[in-house]
């Protein structure tokens, strides 16, 4: 009876074992496992990014009433508009200047924090990250009150030292300065934390050797720190450029694109045309113009990163 049982059980046990080993082989294929782990994210990106992007592409080829296909005529129409080229120029000024200042401030602050003894560093890191942690819609509202045309807190302080009221959001130049300033305030901590991580990964021996050789601060910066951080700087710049280019909340809350459209960027103008103006295809076209501009920046930056990775 027991023999029989054993004989009966044996094929089942073998197949279970085979199943298990097949599973093990399957799991050993690292790419498959990686794919499975990333699948939820891929699905999310598919639903929330890829599908809307293609849908926007589809919308951009429709007429204003979204009744018929008009090919690329929304884009050709845009290219004839004075305001469109002004928005292109402003978006570039806004993104490039904000990213440069964020990088410079982030780099400087990262060095200062890096120089603080490890014991007190955590507190500083936490405090400096606060602007980046607060939702920008919320913090920008506070900035709006500080810049308020009639009751600006900054102007109140400036008046105390005899400096006349600054039209923070009322004058084209000052309004541009204001939106860039708030964007820098919000984004610099991200650069700081990325650069700080990069600084910590630079081997201390390199600095020791440089010190023995009598290298100055600037020589250490240009020949050790910057080359070691180059990839992080490139990736952070690219990431920030994309996010800043597509910024909506800061500009919308602070100036809504005014005065006289002088602070509109792609996203705010697309919203104005598409949602408020009821011309969704034209709004979609404006937002899609960002893609080739950012793609060019991405190609240059990523090519540089890849080249360096190959050399290493």
């Amino acid at each position: 009876m027991s023999d029989l049982a054993v004989r009966h059980a044996a094929p089942g046990a073998t197949s279970a074992k085979r199943e298990r080993s097949r599973l093990r082989v399957f799991l050993r294929q690292r790419s498959t496992v990686a794919f499975l782990f990333t699948l939820p994210l891929i699905l999310l990106v598919g639903v929330l990014v890829i599908y809307p992007a293609f849908y926007a592409l589809h919308l951009a080829t429709l007429n204003k009433r979204m009744e018929r296909f008009v090919g690329l005529s929304n884009f050709t129409f845009l290219f004839t508009r004075e305001t469109f080229w002004m928005v292109v120029r402003q978006s570039c000024i806004f993104a490039v200047s904000a990213v440069i200042f964020k990088a410079l401030i982030g780099f400087t602050v990262a060095h200062l924090v890096h120089a603080i003894p490890a014991k007190g560093q955590r507190k500083w890191r936490g405090m400096l990250l606060v602007p980046w942690v607060i939702p920008p819609a919320l913090s920008t509202l506070t900035w709006l009150w500080l810049f308020d045309p009639s009751y600006s807190a900054f102007n109140y302080v400036l008046a105390g030292i005899g400096i006349g009221p600054v039209p923070w959001t009322g004058d084209a130049l000052w309004a541009r300065v204001s939106v860039i300033l708030v964007n820098i305030w919000y984004g610099a901590p991200f650069f700081m934390i990325m650069y700080l991580a990069a600084l910590k990964s630079v081997p201390a021996e390199l600095y020791e050797v440089a010190a023995i050789d009598g290298a100055t601060f600037w020589q250490r910066l240009f020949y050790i720190t910057l080359p070691m951080m180059r990839n992080i700087i490139a990736i952070t710049t690219l990431f920030s450029l994309i996010v800043t280019f597509a910024n909506f909340d800061i500009v919308w809350i602070l100036t809504a694109g005014g005065p006289i459209d002088r602070t509109h960027v792609f996203a705010t103008w697309a919203f104005r045309l598409g949602i408020q103006g009821g011309d969704i295809p034209l709004g979609a076209s404006v937002s899609l113009v960002m893609i080739p501009l950012l793609a060019v920046a991405a190609i240059f930056i990523l090519r540089d990163v890849n080249k360096r990775a190959e050399r290493m």
Binding site: T169, G258, R272, I275
Partner: protein, 445 residues
């Protein structure tokens, strides 16, 4: 094993039960008439949604309909985003509160409501021309004027400051309970008053920004001069004498406005009045209501009245909300029945009362409700808010251009941008050329 045999007793029992069920009269369940969902505008005035909610609940109870109400804010254009999303998805609420231009924008997705409007006009009197312009498409009514959120943005003046610095008694000009005696309240008088108040350190709080309050005031002033950027047939008329005249007048006024007026948003004029810095703003009574709460001494000096008359007439900015039924609604009969209930004179009276006089019905028989006459301080301060003596034309900026073009002119704030550009030193011809080029762009189909 179960037996298939049916006993005599069981057969009789089953037969009796079946007979009772078949012969039972039709009983209406709690939600026998289905369900209906409505996207209402979320009111600024605290507690003002309550009136709408109560009217809807009472109607649902009576009609046995399961009602779902969403009060959607216009802050951050959330209502516009919801409209766009529902129009794209062809699914969502049955009824929606559309702001001004959005009935025309979605005309091909809205259920005609001619039957309702015929009945409502019979009940409540005719509607003003702006409602006609915004809710009627190709001769068919596609929406019903909503009382909540509809507003006139006429002047709200400081009684004391206008008397002291401009020599104008606004209460005598617009006496409570009586017809206006405002023949001398013209664009010239307005300009002189603006100059006098500016000199006295209390400038008029009129914005030149790109948000609706600035655009609405500019629209009414342009219309008072007969200045339209596009006429009703869609012809561009930017370079007309009337537009130049309006621009010249506005350029004079702008010198007496706060220097930061081009940066003003919709909150700026409210703050200007409540802080006591200005003698006049153009706004619905919400700013007076805030003053009543936060600065009672200022509220006591506020008087809401009509706009000054220009060479082409007296125009006042009017912004209605409009209730439309989506064509994809699954319960159109219930939606129509609800809109009738919400547009009944009693329901409207309740809405006006709860909103402290802010909400404005579009019907001519309902502009003399006691709420406006009795509101204080000072008593009668809102009497002229609903234009009870019809002495001004209620209009929307960029009208009479075809609404699909006017919407773009309005939302792109072309008129205030023209003023701001000219004010910034640009030559009149260059400003007009710029405006013409912008408007040409709005003509694409």
């Amino acid at each position: 094993m179960a037996k298939g045999r049916v006993s005599r007793r069981r057969f009789l029992g089953t037969s009796a039960a079946s007979a009772a069920l078949v012969s039972m009269p039709f009983v209406r369940g709690a939600h026998a008439a289905g369900s209906v969902s409505v996207g209402f505008w979320d009111h600024w005035v605290p507690g003002a949604n309550k009136a709408t909610e109560e009217i809807c609940r009472a109607w649902a109870e009576k009609e046995k309909v399961d009602i779902k109400m969403d009060f959607i804010t216009s802050q951050g254009n959330k209502n516009l985003l919801t409209i766009a999303a529902e129009a794209q998805a062809k699914s969502g609420h049955d009824v929606f509160a559309f702001p001004t231009w959005y009935v025309h924008e979605h005309a091909n997705q809205l259920e005609p409501v001619d039957d309702l409007m015929t009945e409502l006009i019979k009940q409540n009197g005719n509607v003003n021309g702006t409602v006609d312009y915004l809710a009627k498409v190709k001769g068919r009514w596609l929406a019903v004027p909503a009382t909540p959120g509809s507003q006139i943005k006429g002047p709200c003046s400081r009684i004391d400051l206008m008397k002291q610095h401009a020599g104008i008694d606004v209460q005598a000009m617009y006496p409570a309970g009586e017809a206006p005696k405002a023949d001398n309240w013209t664009m010239d008088t307005f300009l002189k008053a603006a100059e006098a108040c500016h000199k006295a350190g209390f400038p008029f709080g009129i914005g030149l920004g790109q948000t609706t309050d600035s655009v609405d005031t500019a629209g009414a002033i342009f219309q008072s001069f007969g200045a339209a950027l596009v006429d009703k047939d869609g012809k561009i008329t930017v370079k007309s004498d009337a537009v130049r005249q309006a621009m010249e007048w506005y350029a004079k006024l702008a010198r007496f406005l706060p220097p930061d007026a081009p940066a003003w948003d919709d909150a700026s004029n409210n703050k200007w009045l409540v802080s006591g810095r200005g003698a006049l703003i153009c706004n619905p009574p919400s700013s007076w209501a805030v003053a009543k709460r936060d600065a009672p001494d200022i509220a006591k000096q506020c008087w809401t009245h009509g706009m000054p008359a220009g060479p082409h007439g007296r125009f006042s900015p009017y912004l209605p909300y409009l209730w439309g039924i989506w064509s994809f609604s699954r319960n159109k009969p219930a939606a129509k029945s609800l809109l009738m209930a919400l547009s009944h004179a009693d329901a409207i009276g309740k809405m006006v009362e709860v909103s402290v006089g802010y909400d404005l019905p579009a019907y001519e028989k309902l502009t003399t409700l006691k709420t406006w006459a009795e509101m204080e301080p000072p008593r009668g301060t809102l009497y002229h808010y609903p234009n009870p003596h019809n002495h001004q034309t209620l209009s929307i900026a960029a009208a009479p251009a075809p609404p699909n073009i006017a919407n773009q002119i309005y939302n792109q704030a072309i008129m205030t941008k023209m003023v701001a550009r000219h004010l910034g030193g640009e030559r009149m011809d260059a400003t007009l050329a710029w405006a013409e080029s912008e408007v040409e762009g709005f003509m694409r189909g």
